[in-house]
Symmetry: C2
Subunit: 307 residues, 2 copies
Protein backbone atom coordinates (compact mmCIF):
# COMPACT_ATOMS: atom_id res chain seq x y z
CA UNK A 1 0.00 0.00 0.00
CA UNK A 2 2.99 2.35 -0.60
CA UNK A 3 0.87 4.70 -2.69
CA UNK A 4 -1.37 5.10 0.34
CA UNK A 5 1.28 6.36 2.72
CA UNK A 6 -0.88 9.39 3.08
CA UNK A 7 -2.12 10.98 6.23
CA UNK A 8 -5.87 10.87 6.52
CA UNK A 9 -7.89 13.54 8.29
CA UNK A 10 -11.34 13.08 9.76
CA UNK A 11 -13.53 16.06 10.69
CA UNK A 12 -16.71 15.28 12.62
CA UNK A 13 -16.80 12.51 15.23
CA UNK A 14 -20.52 12.11 15.78
CA UNK A 15 -22.11 8.69 16.07
CA UNK A 16 -21.28 7.94 12.40
CA UNK A 17 -17.91 9.71 12.13
CA UNK A 18 -16.51 8.20 15.33
CA UNK A 19 -17.14 4.68 14.05
CA UNK A 20 -15.77 5.45 10.60
CA UNK A 21 -12.60 7.13 11.86
CA UNK A 22 -12.15 4.26 14.33
CA UNK A 23 -12.02 1.80 11.45
CA UNK A 24 -9.36 3.88 9.66
CA UNK A 25 -7.24 3.87 12.83
CA UNK A 26 -7.71 0.16 13.48
CA UNK A 27 -6.73 -0.69 9.91
CA UNK A 28 -3.38 1.04 10.38
CA UNK A 29 -3.76 4.34 8.57
CA UNK A 30 -2.18 7.52 9.98
CA UNK A 31 -5.23 9.45 11.09
CA UNK A 32 -5.65 13.05 12.34
CA UNK A 33 -9.04 13.81 13.87
CA UNK A 34 -11.00 16.91 14.79
CA UNK A 35 -14.31 17.39 16.56
CA UNK A 36 -16.01 20.56 17.80
CA UNK A 37 -16.41 18.92 21.22
CA UNK A 38 -12.76 17.92 21.72
CA UNK A 39 -13.49 15.18 24.29
CA UNK A 40 -14.82 12.96 21.50
CA UNK A 41 -11.29 12.70 20.04
CA UNK A 42 -9.99 10.96 23.16
CA UNK A 43 -10.96 7.31 22.45
CA UNK A 44 -9.47 7.65 18.96
CA UNK A 45 -6.26 9.19 20.27
CA UNK A 46 -6.05 6.31 22.76
CA UNK A 47 -6.21 3.96 19.74
CA UNK A 48 -3.39 5.79 17.92
CA UNK A 49 -4.92 8.80 16.14
CA UNK A 50 -3.63 12.35 16.54
CA UNK A 51 -5.92 15.24 17.41
CA UNK A 52 -5.94 18.64 15.72
CA UNK A 53 -7.34 21.90 17.10
CA UNK A 54 -9.21 23.03 13.98
CA UNK A 55 -10.35 21.67 10.60
CA UNK A 56 -7.71 23.98 9.12
CA UNK A 57 -5.00 22.19 11.09
CA UNK A 58 -6.33 18.80 9.94
CA UNK A 59 -6.02 20.01 6.34
CA UNK A 60 -2.50 21.36 6.91
CA UNK A 61 -1.36 17.99 8.22
CA UNK A 62 -3.18 15.63 5.83
CA UNK A 63 -3.36 14.63 2.16
CA UNK A 64 -6.92 13.30 2.26
CA UNK A 65 -9.56 14.82 4.53
CA UNK A 66 -12.89 13.15 5.34
CA UNK A 67 -15.87 15.12 6.60
CA UNK A 68 -18.87 13.64 8.40
CA UNK A 69 -21.15 16.30 9.91
CA UNK A 70 -24.91 16.85 10.08
CA UNK A 71 -26.21 19.08 7.33
CA UNK A 72 -25.35 21.30 4.38
CA UNK A 73 -24.48 24.44 6.42
CA UNK A 74 -22.22 22.36 8.68
CA UNK A 75 -20.16 21.10 5.73
CA UNK A 76 -20.04 24.63 4.32
CA UNK A 77 -18.70 25.81 7.69
CA UNK A 78 -15.98 23.17 8.15
CA UNK A 79 -14.89 23.68 4.54
CA UNK A 80 -14.99 27.44 4.09
CA UNK A 81 -15.59 28.96 7.55
CA UNK A 82 -12.92 30.55 9.73
CA UNK A 83 -10.23 27.95 10.51
CA UNK A 84 -11.91 25.71 7.94
CA UNK A 85 -10.36 23.05 5.73
CA UNK A 86 -9.98 25.39 2.74
CA UNK A 87 -7.78 27.71 4.84
CA UNK A 88 -5.21 24.97 5.38
CA UNK A 89 -5.39 22.54 2.52
CA UNK A 90 -2.61 22.13 -0.04
CA UNK A 91 -2.60 21.73 -3.82
CA UNK A 92 -3.15 18.08 -4.81
CA UNK A 93 -5.09 17.15 -1.69
CA UNK A 94 -8.47 15.41 -1.70
CA UNK A 95 -11.61 16.14 0.35
CA UNK A 96 -14.18 13.36 0.84
CA UNK A 97 -17.56 14.36 2.28
CA UNK A 98 -19.51 11.52 3.90
CA UNK A 99 -22.25 13.75 5.29
CA UNK A 100 -25.72 13.57 3.70
CA UNK A 101 -26.21 17.01 2.16
CA UNK A 102 -27.44 18.90 -0.89
CA UNK A 103 -26.17 17.60 -4.27
CA UNK A 104 -26.28 21.17 -5.65
CA UNK A 105 -24.17 22.58 -2.79
CA UNK A 106 -21.84 19.61 -3.24
CA UNK A 107 -21.18 20.53 -6.87
CA UNK A 108 -20.52 24.14 -5.89
CA UNK A 109 -17.98 23.14 -3.19
CA UNK A 110 -16.24 20.78 -5.61
CA UNK A 111 -15.93 23.64 -8.13
CA UNK A 112 -14.47 26.03 -5.57
CA UNK A 113 -11.92 23.46 -4.40
CA UNK A 114 -11.01 22.42 -7.97
CA UNK A 115 -9.96 26.04 -8.68
CA UNK A 116 -7.33 25.57 -5.98
CA UNK A 117 -6.15 22.18 -7.25
CA UNK A 118 -8.02 20.24 -4.56
CA UNK A 119 -10.06 17.15 -5.47
CA UNK A 120 -13.50 16.40 -4.06
CA UNK A 121 -15.66 13.32 -3.64
CA UNK A 122 -19.12 13.01 -2.15
CA UNK A 123 -19.38 9.68 -0.34
CA UNK A 124 -22.52 9.53 1.81
CA UNK A 125 -23.19 6.30 3.64
CA UNK A 126 -26.06 4.10 4.73
CA UNK A 127 -26.09 1.34 7.30
CA UNK A 128 -26.46 3.29 10.54
CA UNK A 129 -24.24 3.55 13.59
CA UNK A 130 -23.83 -0.22 13.70
CA UNK A 131 -22.50 -0.27 10.11
CA UNK A 132 -20.17 2.63 10.93
CA UNK A 133 -18.78 0.81 13.98
CA UNK A 134 -18.35 -2.50 12.17
CA UNK A 135 -17.04 -1.07 8.90
CA UNK A 136 -19.96 -2.53 6.95
CA UNK A 137 -21.45 0.69 5.56
CA UNK A 138 -22.79 1.01 2.04
CA UNK A 139 -20.93 3.99 0.53
CA UNK A 140 -22.26 5.80 -2.55
CA UNK A 141 -19.51 7.76 -4.26
CA UNK A 142 -19.66 10.61 -6.76
CA UNK A 143 -16.59 12.14 -8.43
CA UNK A 144 -13.68 11.53 -10.83
CA UNK A 145 -12.29 8.02 -11.28
CA UNK A 146 -8.79 9.01 -10.18
CA UNK A 147 -10.09 10.51 -6.95
CA UNK A 148 -12.25 7.46 -6.28
CA UNK A 149 -9.27 5.14 -6.74
CA UNK A 150 -7.16 7.28 -4.44
CA UNK A 151 -9.83 7.18 -1.72
CA UNK A 152 -10.81 3.53 -2.22
CA UNK A 153 -8.51 2.00 0.45
CA UNK A 154 -9.99 4.34 3.07
CA UNK A 155 -13.55 3.82 1.86
CA UNK A 156 -13.09 0.05 1.92
CA UNK A 157 -11.81 0.30 5.48
CA UNK A 158 -15.17 1.83 6.44
CA UNK A 159 -17.67 0.12 4.16
CA UNK A 160 -18.40 -3.33 2.78
CA UNK A 161 -20.04 -1.92 -0.37
CA UNK A 162 -18.35 0.98 -2.16
CA UNK A 163 -20.20 1.96 -5.35
CA UNK A 164 -19.03 4.70 -7.71
CA UNK A 165 -22.37 5.93 -9.06
CA UNK A 166 -21.37 8.98 -11.16
CA UNK A 167 -19.78 12.44 -11.18
CA UNK A 168 -19.53 14.83 -8.21
CA UNK A 169 -22.97 15.11 -6.54
CA UNK A 170 -24.10 11.69 -7.77
CA UNK A 171 -23.25 10.08 -4.43
CA UNK A 172 -25.58 12.52 -2.68
CA UNK A 173 -28.30 12.02 -5.29
CA UNK A 174 -27.94 8.25 -4.81
CA UNK A 175 -28.33 8.70 -1.05
CA UNK A 176 -31.54 10.64 -1.71
CA UNK A 177 -32.74 7.78 -3.95
CA UNK A 178 -32.00 5.48 -1.00
CA UNK A 179 -34.08 7.67 1.32
CA UNK A 180 -37.04 7.79 -1.11
CA UNK A 181 -37.03 3.98 -1.11
CA UNK A 182 -36.78 3.78 2.69
CA UNK A 183 -39.70 6.09 3.42
CA UNK A 184 -42.02 4.81 0.69
CA UNK A 185 -41.39 1.29 2.00
CA UNK A 186 -42.37 2.53 5.44
CA UNK A 187 -45.48 4.26 4.07
CA UNK A 188 -46.51 0.96 2.47
CA UNK A 189 -45.86 -0.97 5.68
CA UNK A 190 -47.88 1.63 7.61
CA UNK A 191 -50.86 1.67 5.26
CA UNK A 192 -50.83 -2.13 5.09
CA UNK A 193 -50.67 -2.62 8.87
CA UNK A 194 -53.41 -0.03 9.50
CA UNK A 195 -55.71 -1.95 7.14
CA UNK A 196 -54.63 -5.28 8.65
CA UNK A 197 -55.38 -4.06 12.19
CA UNK A 198 -58.75 -2.62 11.19
CA UNK A 199 -59.55 -5.90 9.42
CA UNK A 200 -58.81 -7.92 12.56
CA UNK A 201 -55.84 -9.83 11.17
CA UNK A 202 -53.16 -11.44 13.33
CA UNK A 203 -50.39 -8.96 12.51
CA UNK A 204 -47.44 -11.27 13.17
CA UNK A 205 -48.93 -13.97 10.97
CA UNK A 206 -49.77 -11.40 8.32
CA UNK A 207 -46.14 -10.24 8.12
CA UNK A 208 -44.99 -13.87 8.05
CA UNK A 209 -47.43 -14.67 5.24
CA UNK A 210 -46.37 -11.84 2.92
CA UNK A 211 -42.76 -10.91 3.65
CA UNK A 212 -41.16 -13.66 1.55
CA UNK A 213 -42.77 -12.63 -1.75
CA UNK A 214 -43.30 -9.60 -3.97
CA UNK A 215 -44.55 -7.63 -0.96
CA UNK A 216 -41.26 -8.09 0.91
CA UNK A 217 -38.90 -5.32 1.96
CA UNK A 218 -36.21 -4.64 4.54
CA UNK A 219 -38.55 -2.21 6.30
CA UNK A 220 -41.37 -4.78 6.53
CA UNK A 221 -39.07 -7.50 7.86
CA UNK A 222 -37.19 -5.24 10.31
CA UNK A 223 -39.50 -2.38 11.29
CA UNK A 224 -42.84 -4.19 10.91
CA UNK A 225 -42.22 -6.36 14.00
CA UNK A 226 -41.04 -3.26 15.92
CA UNK A 227 -44.31 -1.50 15.09
CA UNK A 228 -46.31 -4.50 16.30
CA UNK A 229 -44.35 -4.53 19.58
CA UNK A 230 -44.95 -0.78 20.09
CA UNK A 231 -41.16 -0.33 20.03
CA UNK A 232 -40.36 3.15 18.72
CA UNK A 233 -36.64 3.19 19.50
CA UNK A 234 -34.85 4.79 16.57
CA UNK A 235 -32.62 3.09 14.05
CA UNK A 236 -32.92 6.46 12.33
CA UNK A 237 -34.93 9.28 13.93
CA UNK A 238 -37.90 11.12 12.43
CA UNK A 239 -35.93 14.38 12.77
CA UNK A 240 -32.98 13.06 10.75
CA UNK A 241 -35.34 11.51 8.24
CA UNK A 242 -37.02 14.89 7.76
CA UNK A 243 -33.65 16.56 7.16
CA UNK A 244 -32.99 14.06 4.37
CA UNK A 245 -36.51 14.31 2.91
CA UNK A 246 -36.10 18.09 2.74
CA UNK A 247 -33.01 17.41 0.60
CA UNK A 248 -35.03 15.02 -1.59
CA UNK A 249 -37.76 17.61 -2.15
CA UNK A 250 -35.20 20.36 -2.92
CA UNK A 251 -33.39 18.09 -5.37
CA UNK A 252 -36.64 17.01 -7.04
CA UNK A 253 -37.62 20.66 -7.46
CA UNK A 254 -34.23 21.57 -8.92
CA UNK A 255 -34.37 18.61 -11.30
CA UNK A 256 -37.97 19.38 -12.27
CA UNK A 257 -39.40 15.98 -11.34
CA UNK A 258 -42.41 15.23 -9.12
CA UNK A 259 -42.02 13.52 -5.75
CA UNK A 260 -45.62 12.58 -5.00
CA UNK A 261 -44.95 9.97 -2.35
CA UNK A 262 -42.00 11.67 -0.65
CA UNK A 263 -43.83 15.00 -0.36
CA UNK A 264 -46.83 13.30 1.25
CA UNK A 265 -44.56 11.42 3.64
CA UNK A 266 -42.70 14.63 4.52
CA UNK A 267 -45.95 16.22 5.62
CA UNK A 268 -46.98 13.11 7.58
CA UNK A 269 -43.67 13.18 9.48
CA UNK A 270 -44.29 16.89 10.11
CA UNK A 271 -47.37 15.97 12.15
CA UNK A 272 -45.22 13.67 14.28
CA UNK A 273 -42.60 16.38 14.83
CA UNK A 274 -45.34 18.82 15.87
CA UNK A 275 -46.40 16.29 18.52
CA UNK A 276 -42.87 16.00 19.87
CA UNK A 277 -42.12 12.59 18.37
CA UNK A 278 -39.11 13.69 16.29
CA UNK A 279 -36.78 11.53 18.38
CA UNK A 280 -38.66 8.30 17.65
CA UNK A 281 -37.64 5.93 14.87
CA UNK A 282 -38.76 6.61 11.29
CA UNK A 283 -41.16 3.65 11.56
CA UNK A 284 -43.33 5.91 13.78
CA UNK A 285 -44.73 7.07 10.41
CA UNK A 286 -47.57 4.63 11.05
CA UNK A 287 -48.72 6.85 13.94
CA UNK A 288 -49.55 9.61 11.46
CA UNK A 289 -51.79 7.25 9.50
CA UNK A 290 -53.36 5.94 12.71
CA UNK A 291 -54.24 9.52 13.65
CA UNK A 292 -55.92 9.99 10.27
CA UNK A 293 -57.84 6.76 10.74
CA UNK A 294 -58.91 7.93 14.20
CA UNK A 295 -60.23 11.21 12.84
CA UNK A 296 -62.16 9.39 10.16
CA UNK A 297 -63.65 6.99 12.70
CA UNK A 298 -64.93 9.91 14.77
CA UNK A 299 -66.49 11.47 11.71
CA UNK A 300 -68.25 8.19 11.02
CA UNK A 301 -69.67 8.17 14.53
CA UNK A 302 -70.99 11.69 14.00
CA UNK A 303 -72.47 10.94 10.57
CA UNK A 304 -73.76 7.49 11.38
CA UNK A 305 -72.26 5.62 8.41
CA UNK A 306 -68.98 5.29 6.50
CA UNK A 307 -70.07 4.70 2.94
Amino acid sequence: MSEHNERVGFVGLGIMGAGMAGNLVRKGFDVVVYNRTAARTEPLVADGAEAAATPREVAQRCDVVFICVSDTPDVEHVLFGEDGIAAGIGDGALVVDSSTVSPAATREWAGRLAERGVGFLDAPVSGGSEGAAKGTLSIMVGGDDTHVERARPYLEAMGSTVTHVGVVGAGQTCKLVNQILVVTSMLGVSEALVLAKAGGLDLEKTIAAVKGGAAGSWMLANRGPQVIRDDWRPGFTVDLQQKDLRLVLEAADELGVPALATSTIFHLYRTLQREGLGGEGNHALIKALERLAGVQARQEDANGSAS
Copy 2:
Protein backbone atom coordinates in the same frame (compact mmCIF):
# COMPACT_ATOMS: atom_id res chain seq x y z
CA MET B 1 -53.30 -39.98 4.71
CA SER B 2 -56.43 -42.11 5.27
CA GLU B 3 -58.39 -39.14 6.63
CA HIS B 4 -57.80 -37.43 3.29
CA ASN B 5 -59.43 -40.08 1.11
CA GLU B 6 -61.67 -37.29 -0.09
CA ARG B 7 -62.37 -36.31 -3.62
CA VAL B 8 -61.20 -32.81 -4.41
CA GLY B 9 -62.92 -30.55 -6.92
CA PHE B 10 -61.32 -27.65 -8.73
CA VAL B 11 -63.40 -24.99 -10.49
CA GLY B 12 -61.49 -22.53 -12.67
CA LEU B 13 -58.45 -23.61 -14.68
CA GLY B 14 -56.98 -20.26 -15.66
CA ILE B 15 -53.25 -19.65 -15.51
CA MET B 16 -53.31 -19.97 -11.70
CA GLY B 17 -55.96 -22.68 -11.30
CA ALA B 18 -54.44 -24.98 -13.92
CA GLY B 19 -51.11 -25.01 -12.10
CA MET B 20 -52.72 -25.48 -8.70
CA ALA B 21 -55.02 -28.33 -9.82
CA GLY B 22 -52.06 -29.92 -11.60
CA ASN B 23 -50.18 -30.12 -8.31
CA LEU B 24 -53.15 -31.80 -6.61
CA VAL B 25 -53.26 -34.40 -9.40
CA ARG B 26 -49.49 -34.99 -9.38
CA LYS B 27 -49.49 -35.47 -5.61
CA GLY B 28 -51.98 -38.32 -5.94
CA PHE B 29 -55.29 -36.81 -4.87
CA ASP B 30 -58.55 -37.79 -6.62
CA VAL B 31 -59.37 -34.61 -8.50
CA VAL B 32 -62.48 -33.56 -10.46
CA VAL B 33 -62.04 -30.41 -12.55
CA TYR B 34 -64.31 -27.93 -14.30
CA ASN B 35 -63.58 -24.99 -16.55
CA ARG B 36 -65.94 -22.82 -18.60
CA THR B 37 -63.77 -23.49 -21.67
CA ALA B 38 -63.75 -27.28 -21.47
CA ALA B 39 -60.57 -27.73 -23.54
CA ARG B 40 -58.51 -26.52 -20.59
CA THR B 41 -59.45 -29.67 -18.64
CA GLU B 42 -57.69 -31.91 -21.18
CA PRO B 43 -54.07 -31.76 -19.91
CA LEU B 44 -55.32 -32.46 -16.38
CA VAL B 45 -57.47 -35.37 -17.51
CA ALA B 46 -54.43 -36.75 -19.35
CA ASP B 47 -52.60 -36.63 -15.99
CA GLY B 48 -55.39 -38.51 -14.20
CA ALA B 49 -58.08 -35.98 -13.23
CA GLU B 50 -61.75 -36.43 -14.12
CA ALA B 51 -63.75 -33.69 -15.84
CA ALA B 52 -67.22 -32.50 -14.84
CA ALA B 53 -69.73 -30.63 -17.00
CA THR B 54 -70.74 -27.99 -14.42
CA PRO B 55 -69.62 -26.62 -11.02
CA ARG B 56 -72.79 -28.31 -9.69
CA GLU B 57 -71.53 -31.68 -10.88
CA VAL B 58 -68.11 -31.03 -9.30
CA ALA B 59 -69.87 -30.37 -5.99
CA GLN B 60 -72.03 -33.49 -6.32
CA ARG B 61 -68.97 -35.67 -6.79
CA CYS B 62 -66.56 -34.05 -4.27
CA ASP B 63 -66.11 -33.47 -0.54
CA VAL B 64 -63.85 -30.42 -0.87
CA VAL B 65 -64.23 -27.95 -3.73
CA PHE B 66 -61.60 -25.37 -4.64
CA ILE B 67 -62.46 -22.25 -6.66
CA CYS B 68 -59.96 -20.11 -8.54
CA VAL B 69 -61.63 -17.56 -10.83
CA SER B 70 -61.09 -13.87 -11.63
CA ASP B 71 -63.26 -11.58 -9.57
CA THR B 72 -66.03 -11.30 -6.97
CA PRO B 73 -68.97 -11.73 -9.43
CA ASP B 74 -67.28 -14.81 -10.94
CA VAL B 75 -67.08 -16.53 -7.54
CA GLU B 76 -70.69 -15.51 -6.83
CA HIS B 77 -71.69 -17.11 -10.15
CA VAL B 78 -69.86 -20.44 -9.73
CA LEU B 79 -71.17 -20.69 -6.15
CA PHE B 80 -74.78 -19.58 -6.45
CA GLY B 81 -75.54 -19.28 -10.18
CA GLU B 82 -77.49 -21.81 -12.25
CA ASP B 83 -75.63 -25.14 -12.13
CA GLY B 84 -73.44 -23.64 -9.44
CA ILE B 85 -71.65 -25.37 -6.57
CA ALA B 86 -74.41 -24.62 -4.05
CA ALA B 87 -76.91 -26.51 -6.23
CA GLY B 88 -74.93 -29.74 -5.90
CA ILE B 89 -73.00 -29.63 -2.66
CA GLY B 90 -73.75 -31.92 0.27
CA ASP B 91 -73.94 -31.34 4.02
CA GLY B 92 -70.47 -31.53 5.62
CA ALA B 93 -68.61 -30.50 2.48
CA LEU B 94 -66.00 -27.71 2.36
CA VAL B 95 -65.53 -24.92 -0.20
CA VAL B 96 -62.11 -23.24 -0.49
CA ASP B 97 -61.91 -20.05 -2.55
CA SER B 98 -58.43 -19.19 -3.85
CA SER B 99 -59.59 -16.28 -6.02
CA THR B 100 -58.69 -12.74 -4.89
CA VAL B 101 -62.07 -11.14 -4.13
CA SER B 102 -63.96 -8.93 -1.69
CA PRO B 103 -63.57 -9.85 2.02
CA ALA B 104 -67.13 -8.60 2.65
CA ALA B 105 -68.63 -10.79 -0.09
CA THR B 106 -66.52 -13.67 1.23
CA ARG B 107 -68.11 -13.38 4.67
CA GLU B 108 -71.57 -13.30 3.12
CA TRP B 109 -70.93 -16.45 1.04
CA ALA B 110 -69.53 -18.26 4.08
CA GLY B 111 -72.68 -17.38 6.01
CA ARG B 112 -75.00 -18.64 3.27
CA LEU B 113 -73.08 -21.92 2.98
CA ALA B 114 -72.88 -22.40 6.77
CA GLU B 115 -76.71 -22.36 6.92
CA ARG B 116 -76.58 -25.48 4.74
CA GLY B 117 -73.89 -27.23 6.79
CA VAL B 118 -71.13 -26.43 4.28
CA GLY B 119 -67.78 -25.07 5.47
CA PHE B 120 -65.90 -22.24 3.78
CA LEU B 121 -62.31 -21.02 3.67
CA ASP B 122 -60.86 -18.07 1.79
CA ALA B 123 -57.36 -18.99 0.64
CA PRO B 124 -56.03 -16.44 -1.85
CA VAL B 125 -52.51 -16.94 -3.12
CA SER B 126 -49.47 -14.97 -4.15
CA GLY B 127 -46.47 -16.12 -6.14
CA GLY B 128 -47.73 -15.85 -9.70
CA SER B 129 -48.16 -18.46 -12.41
CA GLU B 130 -44.67 -19.80 -11.75
CA GLY B 131 -45.51 -20.42 -8.08
CA ALA B 132 -48.79 -22.07 -9.10
CA ALA B 133 -47.00 -24.41 -11.53
CA LYS B 134 -44.22 -25.30 -9.07
CA GLY B 135 -46.44 -25.59 -6.00
CA THR B 136 -44.52 -22.82 -4.22
CA LEU B 137 -47.38 -20.35 -3.68
CA SER B 138 -47.83 -18.36 -0.51
CA ILE B 139 -51.40 -19.10 0.65
CA MET B 140 -53.19 -16.81 3.13
CA VAL B 141 -56.06 -18.63 4.80
CA GLY B 142 -59.10 -17.32 6.66
CA GLY B 143 -61.64 -19.56 8.42
CA ASP B 144 -62.20 -22.03 11.25
CA ASP B 145 -59.33 -24.14 12.57
CA THR B 146 -61.08 -27.43 11.79
CA HIS B 147 -61.68 -26.43 8.18
CA VAL B 148 -58.08 -25.25 7.81
CA GLU B 149 -56.75 -28.56 9.13
CA ARG B 150 -59.04 -30.48 6.76
CA ALA B 151 -57.82 -28.45 3.77
CA ARG B 152 -54.17 -28.33 4.81
CA PRO B 153 -52.95 -31.41 2.83
CA TYR B 154 -54.38 -29.91 -0.37
CA LEU B 155 -53.08 -26.40 0.42
CA GLU B 156 -49.63 -27.79 1.13
CA ALA B 157 -49.70 -29.60 -2.20
CA MET B 158 -50.07 -26.20 -3.89
CA GLY B 159 -48.09 -23.81 -1.70
CA SER B 160 -44.81 -23.74 0.20
CA THR B 161 -46.16 -21.25 2.78
CA VAL B 162 -49.64 -21.81 4.19
CA THR B 163 -50.53 -19.23 6.86
CA HIS B 164 -53.79 -19.21 8.80
CA VAL B 165 -54.23 -15.49 9.41
CA GLY B 166 -57.71 -15.30 11.01
CA VAL B 167 -61.43 -15.93 10.59
CA VAL B 168 -63.33 -16.12 7.28
CA GLY B 169 -62.41 -13.10 5.14
CA ALA B 170 -59.04 -12.64 6.84
CA GLY B 171 -57.25 -14.47 4.01
CA GLN B 172 -58.67 -11.96 1.52
CA THR B 173 -57.81 -9.03 3.78
CA CYS B 174 -54.26 -10.39 4.09
CA LYS B 175 -54.04 -10.61 0.29
CA LEU B 176 -55.07 -6.94 0.12
CA VAL B 177 -52.35 -6.11 2.66
CA ASN B 178 -49.95 -7.94 0.33
CA GLN B 179 -51.12 -5.84 -2.63
CA ILE B 180 -50.75 -2.54 -0.71
CA LEU B 181 -47.14 -3.52 0.01
CA VAL B 182 -46.47 -4.52 -3.60
CA VAL B 183 -47.74 -1.30 -5.17
CA THR B 184 -46.28 1.09 -2.60
CA SER B 185 -42.92 -0.64 -3.12
CA MET B 186 -43.33 -0.05 -6.83
CA LEU B 187 -44.29 3.60 -6.28
CA GLY B 188 -41.11 4.05 -4.26
CA VAL B 189 -39.00 2.35 -6.92
CA SER B 190 -40.63 4.55 -9.56
CA GLU B 191 -40.18 7.84 -7.71
CA ALA B 192 -36.60 6.89 -6.83
CA LEU B 193 -35.64 5.91 -10.39
CA VAL B 194 -37.25 9.03 -11.89
CA LEU B 195 -35.11 11.17 -9.56
CA ALA B 196 -32.05 9.03 -10.25
CA LYS B 197 -32.49 9.38 -14.03
CA ALA B 198 -33.06 13.12 -13.81
CA GLY B 199 -29.97 13.40 -11.58
CA GLY B 200 -27.81 11.61 -14.16
CA LEU B 201 -27.01 8.56 -12.04
CA ASP B 202 -25.93 5.22 -13.45
CA LEU B 203 -29.18 3.35 -12.70
CA GLU B 204 -27.72 -0.15 -12.49
CA LYS B 205 -25.04 1.00 -10.08
CA THR B 206 -27.62 2.94 -8.10
CA ILE B 207 -29.76 -0.16 -7.60
CA ALA B 208 -26.64 -2.16 -6.69
CA ALA B 209 -25.60 0.48 -4.15
CA VAL B 210 -28.91 0.62 -2.28
CA LYS B 211 -30.70 -2.71 -2.64
CA GLY B 212 -28.83 -4.51 0.14
CA GLY B 213 -29.84 -2.10 2.91
CA ALA B 214 -32.88 -0.44 4.44
CA ALA B 215 -33.98 0.68 0.96
CA GLY B 216 -34.18 -2.90 -0.29
CA SER B 217 -37.33 -4.64 -1.50
CA TRP B 218 -38.37 -7.52 -3.75
CA MET B 219 -39.78 -5.02 -6.25
CA LEU B 220 -36.51 -3.03 -6.39
CA ALA B 221 -34.38 -6.14 -6.85
CA ASN B 222 -36.70 -7.82 -9.39
CA ARG B 223 -38.65 -5.11 -11.20
CA GLY B 224 -36.04 -2.32 -10.97
CA PRO B 225 -33.72 -4.02 -13.48
CA GLN B 226 -36.72 -4.73 -15.76
CA VAL B 227 -37.60 -1.02 -15.74
CA ILE B 228 -34.02 -0.10 -16.64
CA ARG B 229 -34.05 -2.58 -19.54
CA ASP B 230 -37.38 -1.16 -20.83
CA ASP B 231 -38.88 -4.64 -20.31
CA TRP B 232 -42.60 -4.27 -19.59
CA ARG B 233 -43.56 -7.95 -19.82
CA PRO B 234 -45.99 -8.71 -17.02
CA GLY B 235 -45.35 -10.77 -13.94
CA PHE B 236 -48.73 -9.33 -12.94
CA THR B 237 -50.60 -7.00 -15.31
CA VAL B 238 -51.73 -3.44 -14.62
CA ASP B 239 -55.34 -4.55 -15.29
CA LEU B 240 -55.19 -7.32 -12.66
CA GLN B 241 -53.42 -4.99 -10.26
CA GLN B 242 -56.23 -2.46 -10.67
CA LYS B 243 -58.84 -5.12 -9.93
CA ASP B 244 -57.05 -5.85 -6.65
CA LEU B 245 -56.52 -2.17 -5.77
CA ARG B 246 -60.24 -1.57 -6.25
CA LEU B 247 -60.77 -4.29 -3.61
CA VAL B 248 -58.25 -2.56 -1.32
CA LEU B 249 -60.03 0.77 -1.64
CA GLU B 250 -63.46 -0.81 -1.05
CA ALA B 251 -62.16 -2.66 2.02
CA ALA B 252 -60.48 0.48 3.38
CA ASP B 253 -63.73 2.40 2.96
CA GLU B 254 -65.73 -0.33 4.69
CA LEU B 255 -63.22 -0.48 7.53
CA GLY B 256 -63.10 3.31 7.83
CA VAL B 257 -59.34 3.65 7.37
CA PRO B 258 -57.46 5.90 4.93
CA ALA B 259 -55.47 4.48 2.02
CA LEU B 260 -53.47 7.53 0.97
CA ALA B 261 -50.80 5.74 -1.02
CA THR B 262 -52.98 3.06 -2.58
CA SER B 263 -55.60 5.57 -3.75
CA THR B 264 -52.92 7.69 -5.44
CA ILE B 265 -51.42 4.61 -7.08
CA PHE B 266 -54.87 3.48 -8.27
CA HIS B 267 -55.31 6.77 -10.11
CA LEU B 268 -51.80 6.60 -11.57
CA TYR B 269 -52.50 3.11 -12.96
CA ARG B 270 -55.78 4.52 -14.36
CA THR B 271 -53.74 6.84 -16.59
CA LEU B 272 -51.85 3.80 -17.94
CA GLN B 273 -55.08 1.90 -18.62
CA ARG B 274 -56.47 4.93 -20.46
CA GLU B 275 -53.40 4.82 -22.71
CA GLY B 276 -53.94 1.13 -23.47
CA LEU B 277 -51.10 -0.15 -21.27
CA GLY B 278 -53.29 -2.36 -19.03
CA GLY B 279 -51.59 -5.51 -20.34
CA GLU B 280 -48.10 -4.40 -19.27
CA GLY B 281 -46.54 -5.45 -15.98
CA ASN B 282 -47.38 -3.54 -12.79
CA HIS B 283 -43.86 -2.06 -12.84
CA ALA B 284 -45.09 0.16 -15.73
CA LEU B 285 -46.28 2.41 -12.87
CA ILE B 286 -43.08 4.38 -13.43
CA LYS B 287 -44.45 5.49 -16.82
CA ALA B 288 -47.20 7.43 -15.06
CA LEU B 289 -44.60 9.35 -13.01
CA GLU B 290 -42.47 9.91 -16.10
CA ARG B 291 -45.49 11.47 -17.84
CA LEU B 292 -45.95 13.80 -14.87
CA ALA B 293 -42.28 14.74 -14.98
CA GLY B 294 -42.59 15.41 -18.72
CA VAL B 295 -45.50 17.78 -18.19
CA GLN B 296 -43.62 19.58 -15.47
CA ALA B 297 -40.55 19.93 -17.69
CA ARG B 298 -42.61 21.56 -20.44
CA GLN B 299 -44.14 23.96 -17.93
CA GLU B 300 -40.66 24.95 -16.87
CA ASP B 301 -39.71 25.70 -20.47
CA ALA B 302 -42.76 27.94 -20.79
CA ASN B 303 -42.19 29.76 -17.50
CA GLY B 304 -38.43 29.97 -17.71
CA SER B 305 -37.61 28.61 -14.25
CA ALA B 306 -38.56 25.75 -11.94
CA SER B 307 -38.42 27.29 -8.49
